[in-house]
């Protein structure tokens, strides 16, 4: 019981409350909104953002930031599509790309720690590099035609109330479960929280900061690559501009999910709700029909602002960083 009342969980509870509130408001405004079907669609449509955001959660918990996520999604997509046209099956290419994502992330983490450079600027270089490599692979939109891709998109679990859990949502939920175990039940997870809370203290307590930083960005790259795989299979194509500015949606999901950007405080599960809040808003605006897509951007900004002010208040009043 006392674990549930932990003050560090306050931002998480706030996120869940906001999610439920927006969902209920939507239900009051539109018939059919409050249904498993809408929920299933939101899960499927936003699964790749949430997967990428789960990886970003580790990076932000450690006190860093990863801007290369969107380009990674684009790069993985075009590679999957081009390898597909060469006859490789999606499973092999997916594994290949995830190994690449892990290695690329590890390299970024190593540079950040070894050269002691701000993660912002290193992952910015990563953003340029991967986006440029997208265009080197192909400048066209390439379809994915392997029969396994069709098999994958046919996977679905029926939910009560006419809802469907699609394959990308299933992958997302499995990776979420894996991420929760990694963050909260392993030594690596504890180390991430430790260096995010206070790097110097963590070092003095014997945490291997170099190893943890490298692994944090590697995990971030791995999840970003998985998000790219899910996105490519969801759209059944690869396009060199795919995922542009998606790193911002991922970071926004993490912040809305109750993770503090200063590091050390937050829950991986919160990111699911953060991503779902963003998804809910765009669904609501699309349901309305008369509103311009500009409102999706503006309301995301307003929500981000509200959450930042709320976090600030929570940190100040309850001493979350103590």
């Amino acid at each position: 019981m006392s674990a549930l009342l932990n003050k560090k969980l306050l931002p998480f509870y706030a996120t869940v409350a906001v999610f439920i509130a927006i969902f209920l408001i939507g239900g009051a405004m539109y018939n059919n909104f409050l249904s498993m079907r809408v929920l299933g669609n939101i899960l499927a449509d936003n699964s790749f953002i949430i997967i990428a955001a789960i990886g970003a959660t580790f990076v932000i918990l450690s006190g860093g930031i990863d801007l290369s996520v969107g380009s990674m999604i684009g790069f993985v997509g075009v590679c999957m599509a081009v390898l597909d046209s060469m006859g490789l099956d999606p499973l092999t290419t997916a594994l290949l790309m995830m190994v690449f994502g892990f290695a690329f992330g590890a390299f970024q983490g190593w540079v950040i720690d070894a050269l002691d450079i701000q993660p912002f600027i290193i992952t910015l270089a990563g953003l340029f590099l991967l986006r440029g490599m997208c265009f080197m692979v192909t400048i066209n939109s390439v379809p994915i035609t392997h029969e396994w891709a069709d098999l994958y998109s046919d996977i679905r679990i029926r939910l009560p109330g006419n809802g469907l859990l699609r394959s990308s949502a299933i992958v997302m939920l499995i990776s979420l479960a894996a991420a929760i175990i990694l963050a909260h039940f392993t030594r690596f997870g504890a180390n991430v929280y430790a260096i995010g809370g206070d790097k110097e203290s963590a070092r003095l307590m014997g945490v291997n900061v170099r190893r943890t930083t490298v692994l944090v960005y590697a995990v971030g790259g791995l999840f970003a690559a998985l998000a790219g795989v899910v996105y490519a299979l969801y759209t059944k194509s690869g396009y060199p501009l795919a995922g542009t500015t998606l790193e911002l949606s991922a970071i926004a999901s993490v912040v809305l999910g109750g993770t503090l950007l200063t590091g050390g405080v937050g829950l991986v599960a919160g990111t699911l709700f953060g991503g779902m809040i963003l998804g809910l808003i765009s669904t609501l605006i699309i349901f309305n029909g008369s509103l311009n897509s500009a409102w999706i951007l503006i309301s995301s900004g307003v929500l981000l602002f509200a959450f930042m002010v709320m976090h600030r208040f929570l940190v100040g009043s309850f001493g979350l960083r103590d």
């Binding site: 450079i117 926004a252 311009n292 409102w295």
Partner: protein
């Protein structure tokens, strides 16, 4: 005496100013080999044309934003929203011109919008104490939406406009030299006077170096940070004016996309540290020129423009390694060990 201990060599290794200039020189010399007529400058329709002029001309929007960014980075902050501010300024222009305002007043509207955006960012960072990255992320995400909304306000589906005044400001020329270079020179001079000939620059650098200490020393750190974001909003507004006047249309979705990254890059190449405490206005302009020269060289070399991003990334990495104390120490100690 070992080479590394010569004072001259040491000064070059530690002197950050030499690298960006060297980089610019190397790029321009390489261009001469790639394209024999590279340095040619001719007069067409009363205006200078040529690759060198073109680099200056195209670097103006990035350089303008980079100047504001240099001040913000000096306070240990960052402004991700500059592209969105440029988009909002552009949308203001299209709106007010269609509303029938005199074009000089339209310019004031656009710059005013930039200043307001900068004040919003400054308020979040300075007075609410929100981390700069996330505080400016808010406007970065919603700013392009606001621009789209302004385009919708006047109900037009066609946000294009005709303005001789704005076009003159952007693409026109005075005495053979493009007008926007004059505009840039005036803004640079004013900013330089404010930063270097008043105490503001010193205060900004003190705040960036150690906000708490400078506060104790009597500097109003909050006000200084607020002013820095305001300046950045203003220069971003100017960049929006020039970019929008260039295309005669307001396109909030794609105008100045990723320009914040180029601007930050220009500041970093110019020797500014993201850890704050230093402002190099002149070197920042050199940084913006390095970026534009790179882009131009890739175009004239016949390489596909897609290589631009990769080469930019490698340049960033190279510059960062050169600036990193850890890397420099590592290299120096290697030299020392060898006989």
């Amino acid at each position: 005496m070992k080479l590394i201990e010569q004072p001259f060599v040491r000064r070059i290794l530690n002197g950050r100013a030499i690298w960006p200039l060297l980089a610019l020189a190397v790029i321009l010399i390489a261009d001469g080999f790639i394209s024999p007529g590279f340095y040619e400058i001719r007069i067409v329709e009363g205006r200078l044309f040529g690759n060198l002029i073109d680099i200056l001309y195209r670097a103006v929007p990035t350089a303008l934003i980079a100047l504001g960014m240099a001040v913000v980075i000096g306070t240990r902050g960052i402004d991700l929203s500059v592209g969105s501010i440029a988009a909002i300024a552009g949308a203001m222009i299209a709106w007010r011109i269609q509303a029938g305002d005199p074009h000089g007043v339209v310019l004031l509207y656009a710059l005013g919008a930039g200043i307001l955006c900068g004040m919003w960012n400054g308020m979040l960072v300075a007075f609410l104490g929100i981390q700069p990255i996330i505080a400016t992320l808010i406007l970065m995400v919603s700013g392009r939406g606001i621009g789209m909304l302004i385009n919708l306000i006047y109900g037009g589906t066609d946000p294009s406009f005709q303005s001789d005044f704005l076009q003159w400001l952007s693409t026109g020329s005075i005495l053979f030299i493009p007008t926007r270079l004059y505009v840039f020179a005036v803004i640079f001079l004013l900013l330089w006077l404010v930063i270097r000939r008043t105490a503001l620059g010193l205060f900004v650098e003190a705040t960036g170096g150690n906000a708490a200490a400078s506060n104790l020393a009597g500097v109003n750190a909050k006000l200084i940070i607020f002013a820095a974001y305001l300046i950045c909003g203003l220069t971003a507004g100017w960049a929006g004016v020039i970019l929008t006047a260039d295309t005669h249309t307001s396109d909030p979705v794609s105008v100045a996309l990723y320009i914040e990254l180029d601007a930050i890059l220009a500041v970093v190449i110019g020797g500014g540290s993201l850890a704050g405490g230093r402002i190099y206005l002149g070197m920042t302009v050199i940084g913006a020129l390095v970026i534009q020269a790179l882009t131009t060289s890739i175009l004239i070399s016949g390489l596909p423009p897609e290589y631009n991003l990769i080469i930019k990334a490698l340049v960033v990495l190279f510059v960062l390694v050169l600036q990193s104390d850890n890397a420099r120490r590592g290299i120096v100690s290697k030299f020392r060990r060898s006989p």
